[in-house]
Structure formats: C-alpha cells, structure tokens
C-alpha cells in the first residue's frame, strides 16, 4: 500500500474507534475508562490528520491549505478507490 493510503487508513481506524466510543458514551456517559480511551484516540487521530492534510490535501473543507486554488475538489473521492489511492481509475 502507498503511504497516502496507509496514513488515510490509520486515520479511518482511529475515527472509527472514536465513533464506536461515542455511541457507547451516549448510553454510558459516566464511564471514565471509555472517556479516557476517547481522549487518547482523539489525540492520535488529530496528529495523523494534520500530517495527512499537509501532505495530501483536505479531508474536510474547513482545512484550508496555503495555496491559491481550491484543493477540496481534487480527486480522489472516497468511492473512487480501487485497491489504494495510487490505483484510482477515473
């Protein structure tokens, strides 16, 4: 797998863990262990996200790279992947 895909899949894994914990915390709002895990995964996800976005562009339109053109529209979109971002068929 290329570096861009590896990094993206790491972010996806942390973000999934975060979402699963979010649902758990919705019905267990005073569970301190889950809250601690959430905090840890959030830090990891945000670090990786910073790395990814500075190298490969925005995952969310609120990340604005220091360039003169609008990078949000750049390929690939999530449904375009077929075996990693390097194999994007358009």
């Amino acid at each position: 797998m290329d570096e861009q895909t590896t990094l993206l899949e790491q972010i996806m894994a942390y973000d999934f863990a975060l979402y699963d914990l979010q649902l758990f915390l919705d019905t267990h709002p005073s569970d301190e262990n889950a809250l601690r895990d959430y905090k840890m995964a959030l830090e990891q996800s945000e670090n990786l996200r910073k790395q990814f976005q500075s190298k490969y562009g925005p995952l969310n339109a609120r990340y604005l790279p220091n360039t003169t053109c609008w990078q949000w529209i750049n390929d690939p979109w999530p449904w375009d992947y077929k075996g990693g971002m390097n194999n994007v068929v358009l």
């Binding site: 649902l23 919705d26 019905t27 267990h28 949000w72 999530p78 077929k82 075996g83």
Partner: protein, 190 residues
C-alpha cells in the same frame, strides 16, 4: 447539521467487478432493511426522544447509517463500473441497466424504488425503540444473506464490518430502551 469527511467509514477497494453482486447489495442502499431507511428512521424518531441519552443515540446512530449508505453506494458503484452492456446482458442484469444504466439508485434488488413506508416514526419512544431493535436484526440478517452470495474478500470484508455494526446498534438501542423505561417508571407515567 452535518459536514462532509472525504473518506468512507471503512475502506472500500473492490478490484473485481461483479454486477450480479452489485444488484444484490443494492437492497442495502434503498431496500426495506437498507441504510437509507435506517438513517431516516432514527433521524426522524430522535425528535420525540425523551432523555438526553436517547436523543444522542438516535442522532448518532442515524448519522452513522449515512456513512453506511455511502459505503454501500461505493460498493455498488465499484462492482458495476465500466462493465460492458453485453456482459451485463449475459449476467441478467440488463433490466437494471435499461432503467438506470450503471448508476446507483435507491431501490431494492428488484428495482422497487425506496419508500418511506419502510419506516415508522411515532411520538411513543417505546414503540420507536422496539422498531429500531427489530430493524437492526433485519439488517444483520440481510448482511448474512449477502455474505453467502460472494467469495471475494474485497466484498466480504466491508459486509462483515456492516453486519458487526448492526449488532452494536442493537446493543445500544437495548440500553436506550432500558433508560426510557426507567425514566418513565420514575415519573409514574403508567
């Protein structure tokens, strides 16, 4: 409101087209036990949830179902994309092609368009949550049928992930039901 994240919840990277499987999976896009019905069901029911926990869980599971809708749409697209009309005819998916081409359209596997009749939203939270528990089991069963129809690991992987999520949602809705019953018991509603 919602912001878009330029990634799927779980990777979808299908290398081998399989139009018959695309049509089978399509029912989880716009069919009776599909992700669109699930999302609209929970996002509509959340307005009449009585406690902070149950408002949150309906809101957040309804949101996750939208991410599942996107995963299913991506799978259907990748399984159908660029397959020739001749090939589609040979595989007996030419009737679907005649209506939509190779597009992703919210219908079930027989082409029956999505309808809000697949879901209910009532003021009564106990009625809603019991529907939600059943809905999660029906979605789980559908993913199990779909898993029997393919041996492509690129397809099996995300289908397994989605089946697992239905089990987690069922668990959370069970807790939500218990919270509502306890709260209503305290307020002596009945």
């Amino acid at each position: 409101m919602w912001y878009y994240e330029k990634k799927t919840q779980y990777p979808i990277n299908i290398k081998k087209p399989d139009p018959r499987m695309a049509v089978a999976i399509l029912t989880q896009y716009g069919g009776p036990n599909g992700e669109l019905a699930a999302s609209l069901r929970y996002l509509s029911q959340r307005f009449s949830m009585p406690t902070k926990e149950t408002k949150a869980i309906l809101n957040d599971i309804g949101t996750e179902e939208l991410a599942h809708l996107e995963m299913i749409g991506s799978m259907v697209h990748q399984l159908m994309d660029k397959v020739s009309p001749q090939e589609l005819e040979k595989l007996h998916v030419d009737t679907m092609y005649a209506i939509h081409g190779r597009a992703v359209y919210p219908s079930d596997s027989n082409g029956v368009p999505f309808t809000a009749a697949y879901l209910e939203s009532m003021e009564d939270p106990i009625a809603n949550l019991n529907e939600d528990l059943a809905a999660e089991q029906k979605a789980r069963a559908t993913y199990e049928y779909l898993l029997k129809l393919t041996d492509d690991p690129d397809v099996i992987d995300p289908l397994r992930f989605l089946r697992e999520r239905e089990v987690v949602h069922y668990q959370r809705f069970g807790e939500a039901l218990r919270i509502v019953q306890e709260t209503m018991g305290k307020k002596k509603f009945y």
